[in-house]
């Protein structure tokens, strides 16, 4: 009896302890607030002073230059403190998506055109039109980049991200190898194919070209297809059917994919940009298609004496056609509790001085008109050539549908494995482009329906 009472008493004490623990935990849970919002939080204008958090969407290589820009900003605005968080580009989207769902979004974030639609569709971004209209930046930013950002926002014609820079496709080629082989600069697609063949000597492990067969292959494949076909629009006149599987694109892609193993290393099948750039920088390969972002890597590895970076080759009729590269920019999250300070930072980061400093370091084309006139552009040849090509009317840009919420899935998970099949000869270029066209048309119809 005594033992039983003791047991009951122990049980009661244990139950009470568990209950107390649960109450305390629930109380802590109910009261907790980390002071930052999620996707549905409307935020507040704030005092224009205090701390703001900035997430860099391409942290690491750009950390130093962003810290410089932030130091300049804090000097000019001593009552605002900016906390910098550099996030690797590959993980940025998932981190922001988690914060949209669970809370903890920053005030300002790097928002490129390629990820704009997804964030805007979740109601996470603040529209910036009215702030830009009242800002000294108004009229100073590249109109095409502004339009590109607007178009990428998901079709509501609102501006969610202020452009900082544009990237552009570049054909890098080894001047030393071209000279040795007596080849002309690959300014046209015919010269490109001729050089790729002539520079290949598999026995000596020398190749004319390196193709992107792994992650990120679709944009490069489309660049080659549209570049050769000369088609300048991603959609037909009805806006409902894509032109990716146009017979001219099919023919162009067949020719391009046939380069695999003929003039490229067999390992190119799994090439993402890292492997592709590394093997071009350290091997004997004649040409490489990438963007302005890797220019500094080539300079370090090869020095400017051994290579040049020129705009994509010219297609039929003397016309250059390229697919669009995502415009990069900075946006404000709607949940920010200090929007006034956040806007001050965005304004400063996209001003002529900051834009010039940032783009000189990144080797990209500045969005600010005054920054685009700075001296450094003349010294960075690929950037100058890209800026000229984008502004002198010689180049038509095929705008990829970044606004489609399914674009990233279609252009990566759904079709990258299929492009590898094309390279291996297990799938025809027509079958590949037809499959992608079907998915794109469906996604476009769905988007148009949602848009009303």
């Amino acid at each position: 009896m005594k033992i039983s009472n003791l047991r009951n008493s122990t049980r009661r004490r244990a139950s009470a302890a568990v209950a107390l623990g649960a109450v305390l935990a629930l109380t802590a849970t109910a009261c907790g607030d980390d002071g930052s919002g999620g996707g549905g939080d409307k935020g507040a204008e704030g005092s224009g002073k205090g701390k703001i958090v900035f997430w860099d969407n391409n942290g690491g290589v750009r950390t130093e230059i962003w810290k410089e820009v932030i130091a300049d900003f804090e000097k000019a605005n001593p009552d605002i403190d900016v906390q910098y968080v550099g996030i690797a580009s590959t993980e940025y989207q998932s981190k922001v998506d988690t914060a949209i769902q669970g809370g903890g979004l920053p005030d300002v974030g790097g928002i490129s055109a390629s990820m704009l639609a997804g964030f805007a569709a979740q109601g996470a971004l603040e529209t910036l039109d009215f702030r830009l209209a009242k800002s000294p930046l108004n009229g100073k930013l590249n109109k095409d980049m502004i339009e590109s950002m607007r178009a990428a926002g998901g079709g509501d014609d609102k501006l969610y991200s202020i452009p900082t820079s544009a990237n552009n496709g570049v054909l890098y080629y080894r001047t030393d190898l071209f000279e040795k082989a007596g080849l002309e600069e690959p300014t046209t697609w015919d010269l490109f194919y001729k050089a790729a063949e002539k520079l290949t000597n598999k026995g000596k492990n020398e190749f004319g070209y390196t193709i992107r067969g792994g992650a990120g292959s679709i944009a490069q494949a489309l660049d080659a297809a549209y570049g050769q076909s000369g088609i300048t629009s991603f959609w037909d006149s009805s806006g409902k059917k894509t032109t990716v599987n146009d017979p001219k694109n099919v023919e162009a892609l067949e020719k391009y994919a046939a380069l695999f193993k003929k003039v490229t290393p067999a390992a190119d099948l799994n090439n993402d940009f890292t492997k592709m750039v590394a093997q071009w920088d350290s091997g004997t390969i004649g040409m490489l298609n990438h963007n302005l972002g890797s220019y500094q890597d080539h300079v370090k590895a090869l020095t400017t004496d051994k290579f040049r970076g020129i705009p994509q080759p010219i297609g039929p009729g003397g016309k250059r056609v390229q697919v669009s590269n995502p415009v990069d920019g900075v946006g404000m999250f709607q949940s920010s509790k200090n929007k006034e300070a956040a806007w001050k930072f965005i304004e400063f980061a996209t001003s002529a001085a900051s834009s010039s400093k940032f783009n000189e370091s990144a080797g990209q084309v500045p969005a600010h008109a005054d920054a685009a006139k700075d001296d450094w552009i003349g010294k960075a040849e690929p950037t100058k050539l890209a800026a000229d090509a984008l502004s002198d009317g010689s180049t038509s840009i095929v705008q990829l549908p970044y606004y489609l919420p399914d674009w990233n899935t279609i252009s990566k998970a759904d079709n990258e494995p299929n492009f590898q099949k094309v390279l291996l000869g297990d799938m025809s270029a027509k079958e590949f482009l037809d499959t992608m066209a079907e998915q794109l048309n469906e996604a476009q119809a769905e988007w148009q329906e949602q848009k009303g």
């Binding site: 391409n58 950390t63 906390q83 690797a88 580009s89 988690t98 903890g104 890597d297």
Partner: protein, 298 residues
């Protein structure tokens, strides 16, 4: 709820004397084989395995732009760059803190849980064990948003505590199962003898059982340390402040969207790998003993 104590292990049935070993033809053939037939394939395998490591070392030690196949002239500039400019010194400290705290918490809780599972019978014991096993099937990414919300509510986002807690929770099921198997292998009669000598249960456990669990503790502790050292997802998601991030997150930022500094990446990779290699070098013997004892018997 604990209902009764497990009975002591039944005495093992008497065994007959082992038969004298029979000559093993395979063994003899192995012993008589020329040494080169053994060392040549092993050497080829070793070279094949070590080439990627040599490549990392090469990129880390040779100057940027060099295409030399030997790291000469040698430079430490990549190490200096990642350690100071890219804050790997800070990331390293954070990773050590997360790893050691996870190791300690996992081992302590697994010891308590494992002891209960090994020494007590209770009604839902089988269901509990099944639950522990099933919890291993749930990937961490699936629980990311709920965990994020919980830590945000508890104001633990941006604190190393959130990563330590999440890592510990994910390490515990396997650790408890392993420790319980180690404890089952320690004869219950040893503890009973200690009780007879005047020890209470805790002291008997501490004085008699715990020293016999050394291989198991090393196996579980090292597993927890290495896993938390390498784990990327929780640190990426729960930590926002640059000064609180860990080595795997730092490594990831060495690759930008369009550009990669291979020298810095290789140097960062070596910094990340060294503690794990050292841990394994020192505990290899106990680790193998520990895992085989914990995993096979039960």
């Amino acid at each position: 709820m604990i209902t009764k104590e497990a009975t002591a292990a039944a005495p093992a049935p008497a065994r007959t004397a082992p038969a004298p070993p029979r000559p093993d033809k395979k063994r003899r053939a192995w012993d008589e084989a020329p040494r080169w037939q053994i060392y040549l394939p092993l050497g080829i395998y070793l070279v094949f395995t070590l080439i990627p490591f040599y490549w990392i070392l090469l990129f880390a030690l040779r100057p940027a732009g060099s295409t030399s196949l030997v790291p000469w002239p040698m430079t430490t500039v990549h190490f200096e760059k990642v350690w100071t400019d890219r804050s790997f010194g800070v990331f390293f400290q954070n990773s050590v803190l997360v790893g050691v705290a996870t190791l300690v918490m996992t081992t302590l809780v697994a010891l308590a849980g494992g002891y209960a599972l090994a020494r007590f019978d209770f009604k839902i014991k089988r269901a509990f064990m099944l639950g522990l096993l099933c919890s291993q099937f749930v990937p961490g990414a699936l629980l990311l948003v709920p965990l994020f919300e919980i830590f945000a509510e508890l104001q633990m986002i941006n604190s190393l505590g959130s990563v330590i807690l999440a890592e510990t929770v994910f390490q515990l099921p396997l650790s408890i199962i392993l420790i319980s198997n180690f404890i089952k292998n320690v004869p219950y009669s040893l503890e009973e003898a200690a009780w007879v000598d005047g020890c209470n249960r805790f002291k008997a456990f501490r004085v008699v059982v715990l020293p016999l669990l050394r291989p198991g503790l090393i196996a579980v502790g090292s597993f927890a340390f290495v896993h938390s050292w390498n784990h990327f997802l929780f640190a990426l998601m729960f930590l926002n402040n640059q000064e609180k991030q860990t080595i795997p997150v730092g490594l990831n930022t060495l690759m930008s969207a369009d550009s990669v500094d291979l020298g810095a990446l290789a140097a960062g990779g070596i910094i990340a790998a060294v503690p794990v290699v050292l841990v394994f070098a020192f505990i290899q013997k106990w680790l193998i003993t520990g895992f085989s004892a914990g995993a096979v018997k039960g």
